[in-house]
Structures are given as structure tokens and as C-alpha cells.
Symmetry: C2
């Protein structure tokens, strides 16, 4: 037992100095090409102490969007699918929903009809399913759902709908001293219960949209109650605001897939020294989905133009990724 | 050569498990007594793998109030002294302040008169000195001030007004796998520019009160502008809310000095497993200041009663600390 430990530590001692040059080997699901090369070149330039672009470890902050960047977002945001499942689960306690939109349509299975009410309808669904309980109760509900609910098209757990190449990228960055954060338009408390297990990103490194919470005593026990009031929308221009509020440093690398990530990438790119901005472009209709400028989910239009103009890395999912999901044949 | 390396590594292997039992040696400014013993006992119980109270490293979250817990807060909060200095520095650009309260009194040196306007006056001073610039400009102003401004009584830099025993405690916890956070009523962007250097706590582990910021393009360059609008007050019942928002886990140890920290300690104590709550009690009128139940700064009244009732650790600064400041003789 001790010998194995000794050998492991010896190995570690021998391997550490060479780690950054091995970034290539840590990205087996990436095809050789300009995207993979750009990642390796960035990691080497910022972590090699002799490089003029060297960045000290504490400043190696990398931020990742979640929906469409780390996991899929079709046929609709997974958190919305969670909310719809919750409406069904909670319906017996809400007989009034049978005659009340957007719930009435939802309960008849007419999602499109329910969402025809636009942002107001969406907010009603979110608040009915995300507010009114304690933070601990909500966390447990998310844990139960994420452990069992299946994606409507693939039949896979949602945590299996994550992109294998992005998991390798997260691990590569961390192996090179980067601190990885999620900065998502999704709900912060919807993500935190599972991001550590799935992405290796702990709760304190998750930034997202939020509703307000209130501290109160319930039977002499302190609880945080989730209120039906929007606190912060972590999307578009909200992303640099959320980064500033939660991280307090400007990232040196940022990863997104939609126009909602553009301000985060602009904010990242505008700092001094070496910077890395990457867009995941959904180009694979067979293994995943293909969408960009016209999509109402994950629309990538302005961002695609700016990426080209500024020379940011644009991942072509179809050609850059050997496989998209870990379970692919 | 190889043998020496092997021996060094073996030594390391042998020493690591014993680290937590050496907590005592990492606290040289603490007198032997119940406070020091309670700290050591907590660290040992939560980090010894054979202990029934063992806590995995990722859950070892410790939160610290700042004013009066990590650094002094008399004769008034240091951030208020910063604001007063800023009013003086900005006065030439604001000729109207000569006839406008609370600025008129302040500029005449009458701080008490200026603050007679209560919360409204305070908010006016804060907004006039903390809003209207970009986040980068504000950070630079704080850096310049903290590097040069002197405490009115001791003539020391404010960063020298930190408590040496608490620095040792922070280091002890981190050496035992804890992640240390600041959770302060003070401004989050007032603390972040210097907490890493002074406390070893990076910006992303600082939680505090905040004003809103806005993302905008200025001459084609993205900036975050600080708005004259309160975003979040990280005090009292706000502390568990801030902890939940920024950290997303319940601390297993919390450290404060006033009633404004009580909810943070209650929230920490109410979790399962081993917990540690500590109040710093200002009992040393000679080396620091002595104040508690009647003080308008750092009032400790309800908290002191609850600490006694619940068996929390109460540090008696006069008797528990060998020295308070590093520069003491």
C-alpha cells in the first residue's frame, strides 16, 4: 500500500513539469486541426514560465457557458424540461391549473401553446416550479430529477448529454492550473447540485441566473426560502456583470455557443495579455443538432460574425470532434 | 541522489497525515486555553480520516467576517474612512458640496455632523465616492488608498491593522484543506483588491455588499460601470443569503464579532455533522479596543448570549491572544 503511494507520488513528481506540453494527449476526442491546435497553443503560451505570455496560476480563470456549450440544449433547454416535469408532478396540489394558462396547455401536453404566452408564461412556469420551497428542498428535487429523467430524443440521462470533448478541455485546463467556472443563463441552483460530479466544477464556481432567497426561522431552525422574484439574469450583458460579482477577476479564456455569450467573450478578449475565446458551432445534424443564425434556442448570429472578424476559435462540431457524447459508438 | 529524493518523498508521505495534529504549532500567537483547544479539536476531528466527524476536503468551507474579525473597525469602519478621504479628494470637482449636506460638514472636518443625517447621509457619501466610475477605475483607487493611507490612531497602514492570530487561524485551516471565504458587510469591490495579498483569500472567495454594475461599450471597449444603486447588503440575515448565492454550500465553520454575524453563525451551526462557530470578543482596551453590547460599531449583544447558550467559542482578545498585531512589541 505504502509502496504504491510512493510510486504514485514519484510519478507525479516526474510528470508535473512536462504536463502542459502534453495537452494534446489530454484531448483524445478532438480531431487534429486548427481548433485543437489553438487550444494547445494557448495553454502552452500561458503556462510555460519562459513564455512572454505566461500567466500566473491565480489569474488563470476560464469561464464556460453551460447550455449548448457543455451539454446539449435541444429540443429545448433542459431546465425547461425540468420545469415541465415539475408542473406535472405538482398538478395534483393545484387543481386550479386545469383552467389557468400556461398550466392548462402544459398539462394537456401542448408545450407550444403554453409557451405562446411568451416571457410572461415562461416566468409563471419557472416561479411555480422554482419558488416557494427552501433551498435544501429545491436542491433535493433537482437531484432526484437529474438522477432519473431521460432526454426525450436519446433516452439518455441529461448528465449523459454532455460533450465529451468539452469534458476533456475542462480537465486539460485544470491540469494546467486553470480554475474553471460555469457562467450560464441557467439557474444557479439548478446547476450546482450536479456540476461537481459531472464537470468537476464545485458549487462555488458556478454562476447563473437566480431568484431571491430569504433567511428565516422555521420551528427554530434557520432556512433560506426561495421567493418568486427574479434576482439576476446571467445572460448577454449580464454575464460580465455576473463574472465581476462572483469571480471578481476578468477571465483569460471564455467558451460559449450563442449570442448570449458574446458580451462574456468581448469582456474576456478586452483584457491585457494572452486571451482565448471559443465558440462551439452546432454543425452536426446527425450526431447532435445543426443550428445557428435562425435558431430561437442558442441563436448564434452576431457572435459568429464577431468571431470571424476577431479571429476567435470556432469549433465545427461535425469536423473538429471525433465523438460528441461519451456513449457514442 | 535517487536515494535522497526517495527519502524526501517518504518523509513527505509520513508527515502529511500528521499535519492536522500540528495545528497547535501553527497558532503561535494564541495562548493555550479553551479557544485554542477548541480550534485544534475541531480541525483534528474534521480532517482525521479515522474520525467519525471527518469531513471531505471539498466540504471544508470556512467563512470569516472582516471588520472587527480579521482587521480592526475602530474608531469607525475603515471603508468609511476611505469614503471620507475620497470626499476630500473629489471636492475640487464638486464645488456644490460646500453648501450641501452631508458633504459640507465632512469638508469642515465635522464627521459626526455629517453622519447625523443617518443612513441617508451615509448612502449619499458612499454613492458619491463608490459609483460613477468603471470597476477598473474603482479598483485602482482602492489600491492607491490602501497602499498609503494611515490609521488615525496607530499611524499604521490599514493592512497592518489585521489580527495576527486570525492570520494564523486562516493559514491553519488552509493547511488542513479548508477553503477560506470572507463574508463581510463591507463592499465586495473595496476588499477584493487587497485580500489575496493580506489574508491569502482570492477575489473569488470574497463575499460582500455591492452596488449594481452595468456592461457597456465605451469607445469600442467593454467596461463595467458602477451605478448609484444598492445591489445587495451582506449583513445580518443577508449573510446566509450571500453565502448561498456565492458559495452554494453551507460552511462548516464561521467566524464573526458582532450581531451582524449572528445569522451566519446560526446558518453554519444548523448543518449536520461537526460544526464550529466562533465570536471574537473585543476585550482589550489597551492593545486594541474594548466594546460589545453598547457599541454602535460592531455591537455584540444577542450574539454573545446565543454563543454562551449554544457553547460557541468566544475569543477573549485580552487573554486568548499573545499579540494582536504583528508589529506589537
Amino acid at each position: 500500500m505504502k509502496l504504491i503511494r510512493l510510486m504514485a507520488i514519484t510519478l507525479l513528481v516526474l510528470l508535473v513539469p512536462a504536463m502542459s506540453t502534453q495537452a494534446a494527449d489530454l484531448l483524445p476526442s478532438w480531431n487534429d486541426g486548427p481548433s485543437k491546435q489553438a487550444i494547445i497553443e494557448f495553454v502552452n503560451a500561458t503556462t510555460d514560465k519562459t513564455s512572454p505570455k505566461f500567466v500566473p496560476p491565480e489569474e488563470r480563470i476560464a469561464t464556460f457557458d453551460n447550455d449548448g456549450t457543455l451539454w446539449a440544449e435541444q429540443p429545448m433547454y433542459f431546465q425547461l424540461l425540468f420545469a415541465l416535469d415539475r408542473v406535472k408532478a405538482l398538478a395534483p396540489q393545484h387543481p386550479e391549473w386545469k383552467d389557468q394558462e400556461p398550466f392548462a396547455s402544459l398539462l394537456k401536453g401542448d408545450v407550444k401553446g403554453a409557451l405562446a404566452g411568451g416571457e410572461h408564461a415562461l416566468l409563471e412556469i419557472v416561479m411555480a416550479t422554482h419558488a416557494g420551497m427552501t433551498t435544501e428542498e429545491f436542491t433535493q428535487t433537482v437531484k432526484d430529477w437529474i438522477a432519473t429523467a431521460k432526454h426525450p430524443k436519446t433516452g439518455r440521462l441529461y448528465t449523459e448529454m454532455v460533450y465529451q470533448p468539452m469534458l476533456e478541455l475542462l480537465a486539460t485546463l485544470r491540469a494546467n492550473g486553470f480554475k474553471t467556472f460555469i457562467v450560464s443563463g441557467g439557474g444557479i441552483e439548478f446547476m450546482r447540485p450536479w456540476t461537481e460530479k459531472v464537470y468537476g466544477i464545485p458549487p462555488e464556481q458556478v454562476v447563473g441566473s437566480s431568484i431571491k432567497t430569504k433567511f428565516e426561522m422555521r420551528d427554530g431552525k434557520p432556512v433560506l426560502t426561495r421567493l418568486a422574484e427574479v434576482d439576476f439574469v446571467d445572460d448577454g450583458p449580464g454575464k460580465p456583470v455576473g463574472i465581476n460579482s462572483h469571480i471578481g477577476r476578468r477571465p483569460i479564456a471564455a467558451f460559449g455557443n450563442s449570442d448570449g455569450d458574446l458580451e462574456m467573450l468581448q469582456w474576456t478578449a478586452a483584457g491585457g495579455g494572452k486571451r482565448f475565446c471559443l465558440y462551439v458551432h452546432h454543425t452536426d445534424a446527425e450526431r447532435e443538432w445543426a443550428y445557428d443564425r435562425q435558431s430561437h434556442i442558442g441563436k448564434l448570429d452576431k457572435g459568429l460574425d464577431e468571431a470571424k472578424a476577431k479571429g476567435w476559435t470556432v469549433v465545427d462540431m461535425k469536423n473538429d470532434w471525433k465523438r460528441i457524447f461519451a456513449w457514442e459508438k
